[in-house]
Subunit: 336 residues, 4 copies
């Protein structure tokens, strides 16, 4: 069954708005960061990673965001362009803002953390007036990311992008991507997450992220069906709730909770799993695949990324995802 219909006549497959930053990944891993002496630079930020993933999968993509007027900002713009992502709506900050940084610490494959630099970052300075209506008018999908709601004026830029997407009929995907830093309070977070989610067609998040959004509501059992039903009353057609190791469930208005099998992986680190999953899943849905098949595809894409050192740079092509699934099916890959 088809839960979401995409406006096929539009020329751009996918646009995302939000965070563009730099990951500085520890080269010497399996140790505390205090003992890491060198770091490698990658483009990062959840919506940036997803867009790179979509582009690698062959989609025509664009990004809406803001970069610092410095070497890091220029590196980001150049990397996006080299990945065939349209950067005509990537604006350069003129106020002296810096590029957000994420230093990664990989103590073990299952013990990873991030040291964030998010003060005065360029990506949160995108204004509503800088968002190009003409770009969104041509997009089949607009993806928004929760971190871009954390501060003004980026928050207002996202709401304006939602207005344009609604007006022009784009399918809207909301990747919750909640990160407490940069938010003033959980109450503030919940209010804006809910205002944005009301307008979205596909919502992806962890059970904990949905709990945060329900702090003013009554869902004492943290019941997925209650959570999903609320959004079906607004605009949603698919609500994916991720339960960590228990897997993800895609809820639909017909009451079904769709599940998919997962794949083994030789895990290096956990970063980037959600972003590659989102890219693979959205790609599948846009191909007209079942939700189950789309979720499987997302899972395979995620396995490839968590087996690698980087996030953005490891985003797979369709051929790589297909090959990974085949190798798993042949039993050639087992869990680490």
């Amino acid at each position: 069954m088809t839960y979401v219909t995409f406006p096929q006549a539009k020329s751009l497959d996918f646009a995302a708005i939000g965070r563009l930053c730099i990951d500085l990944n520890a080269n010497e891993i399996n140790r505390p960061m205090e003992e890491t002496m060198t770091f490698t630079k990658y483009v990062g930020g959840s919506p940036a990673n997803i867009t790179i993933g979509m582009s690698r999968l062959g989609m025509k993509t664009a990004f809406i965001g803001k970069i610092a007027n410095d070497q890091m900002g220029r590196f980001i713009a150049d990397y996006l362009q080299r990945n065939a992502i349209d950067t005509s709506n990537v604006v350069t900050d003129q106020t002296g803002a810096v590029t957000g940084l994420a230093f990664t610490e990989i103590k073990s494959p299952s013990d990873c953390s991030i040291l964030m630099y998010r003060n005065n970052v360029a990506d949160l300075k995108l204004t509503p007036g800088e968002v190009q209506e003409s770009l969104i008018a041509q997009a089949k999908v607009l993806l928004i990311s929760g971190t871009a709601l954390a501060q003004s004026p980026s928050r207002e830029a996202v709401f304006q992008a939602l207005n344009y997407a609604k007006k022009h009929g784009a399918v809207i995907v909301f990747d919750l991507d909640y990160r407490p830093y940069t938010w003033t309070s959980p109450e503030e977070t919940a209010v804006y997450y809910n205002l944005a989610a009301e307008k979205c067609d596909i919502i992806l998040g962890t059970r904990e992220e949905f709990d945060m959004m329900e702090q003013f509501e009554h869902n004492p059992e943290k019941d997925d069906q209650i959570t999903a039903a609320k959004w079906f009353d607004y605009s949603a057609k698919i609500v994916i709730i991720k339960h960590g190791k228990e897997g993800s469930i895609a809820y639909t208005p017909d009451g079904i909770g769709h599940r998919a099998k997962s794949f083994p992986a030789k895990v290096v680190k956990t970063f980037g799993a959600g972003d590659s999953y989102a890219a693979g899943f959205i790609y599948g849905v846009m191909q007209g695949w079942t939700l189950e098949k789309s979720m499987e595809y997302g899972s395979a894409a995620a396995c490839i990324v968590i087996s690698s050192h980087s996030c953005s740079d490891a985003m797979p092509t369709a051929a790589q995802v297909d090959a990974y699934i085949e190798r798993c099916n042949r039993g050639e890959i087992t869990a680490s």
Copy 2:
């Protein structure tokens, strides 16, 4: 024809959320404020004035807001209580915020201005967690005022109040009351005004206020019908657009632009006209009167206030409004 149906079973006629402040009105008028030596203190703030007006007209009312923990804040709470307004959701700030002030300057009946003190004011510190769902659940009407959207956390408190009002079926009135100070940019203002207006049943504002809200849209002729139609696509049933001396028009989804006659007045100053108009109009609609009769009632209430020295303290009772209309009909009142 009835455009709005009120939930009659509810026990509270009217609740408002937003600004509570102090007006310091020049005692020596018809001169620049530099030459005014003494000032008289009144409760002020648009939603406060409207609530006082509704209470004087005999409605059961409550206020949702925040006051400074000082003499000015205590004066406000006491005045509301003396006017039979429920203050159980008027919270006292504990952070050292001050009470907003508005010094009025009356150079002539038609040349009035205000000197505002809006830095670190208590009313903008109301949080979403402080808004009582149980109070809104009992209200037939919730009135929100644009100034409360100007800053966090008051902005989020208003959106949370809107959520509760929607959930419990209150009729929502939006008094635009746009004042540029305290807002960061016109773009930011437009984004939040539009997000709030989407959820409202009755919207009242000047043509200029609606223009501000349309800065990302195409209404080059500033056409009232285009303006109103947008909101009928969301939740609105009545959109009142005020055209200054040309009078106000109440638009309804049936395409009608309702107009009402106005009354003469011996004008002292223009402050408070909009607030008393809103109180009179909402009162009329709640009585089941036609929009035309409700607008006339609002106009008469406004005439009484602009003929007086204060705003809040001059809000009329129903008997006073009726008497004013009768005296006008008998030709006993002529314009100053």
Copy 3:
């Protein structure tokens, strides 16, 4: 004995730098402010009051400060000019700052308090580049006030004024006037008070103000002699420490603690006592009087002010002070 020598050739007797604000004095007194309905407007701020006092006593005076670009600011400039104070270095703010306010509450002659509005005030926005060296070069005395040290850029403007005063040989008077609001921490306060006091010839303050300045030092008995001795090691020639009802003592490097008799007064309120005392005392010292006679003169001036409704507007002329002392000497005035 002469403790301080003034540069007699200079054309300006007295310049002060710092706070200019508005006092809003309760008209209905001997009650809580909640019950006060009207307020009268006066120029206020400790250095402004002292300068008005000096001008009334016949001195040639000037003020260095910043006013809001509004009706309150223009009232202040006009009042200073009408009191023959040179305002050529009173700068008008262009950033939208407001005029500081002080609402006075007079519950009884001995129970007075102030409700301050000090957010975004113009007086704290004076910059070092706006301080006119040429004006200070002509001044016999420069008075600085502690409140002007509370925030940047006013803080730096005061230090720059001190540089000019030192360079050109003005006698520097420091009126401590410590008010905790607007300061970030007691530690910060102590650091800047000490840096400023190092450069001053005459320091006036309460025992509590000197205690605040000594928080990083060892004076467990709060011994006046230890306090004064520290400043004699820098630039000070007179250190006046006020002990409330026990009276004030003027310490000098010769080890003497000078005391003066006080006068009775019919007290209305306590505000303004310190400012009128400072004006009377400095005036006396500039006349070449003994410290004891100068302190008496300050006390008499203070009695006149606390017997009146206002501070600035009640500052006496020399004839009024002389008359008050004579009447006291004749027993015509007794304490209230």
Copy 4:
């Protein structure tokens, strides 16, 4: 001739207060940073580098500063300890501040730049109450660095450290180290630099740094003698003014301008030259050497650092400096 006498009985040779941060040095050099993919982590910050230099030269040293409560902060503390620097007054921030970062770009040996991260950094959060008087009481030398004056509360901590150093007789060295970011305005900078410099015995800076300090003064020819003479009127005994390629001159109250010969070097980058020069020079003066010999020693230390990839980690031992001078004298080292 001896210009400065050190309090030899004290147990600690050298203490510094101020910036502790992380340098992230480009591994792939001689290209724009956009093309640099990996970075190596070092301890940085001018006073940190000088203290490491002093420790390497055999001095007993301590640091007064504040580090972030994260992996970067712990790395800094550990590195200082491994370099035998007393960290008992290195405080850990508890407010969520981050570690300052400096990404270095080395386009060529003579075209180097830095990308700074200075928002919400831990080092600027040191408070005056955290500075240990007992530590400064035992120090022969206290070095302050201009960057620590850039913001509160670090600014006040430096002034408090100066108070303690004055009280206990430490020789105070001021390394101007002016960096415009983090300062609000040049005026503010000049005011605090001058207030600090008044209390210092040895002042080191570039001609441009002294120009910045003289913006309120009259030195139209930028005459070194006028500059130095001002500080001799306060506390200074040596004022070193650096003229880039024309070399440095050490001015003394006897009117002499001391110069020293320089050494050739195979330059990798210019970073760290000033810090190693300062360490070598102060070390020499503390040995009782002439200013000329001390300056030579500083120059040789600087040559070693600019021939290396890092700043802090390349600080030489005395044996290394001696060897470098000998090799230069034997003609074994020539300029790159």
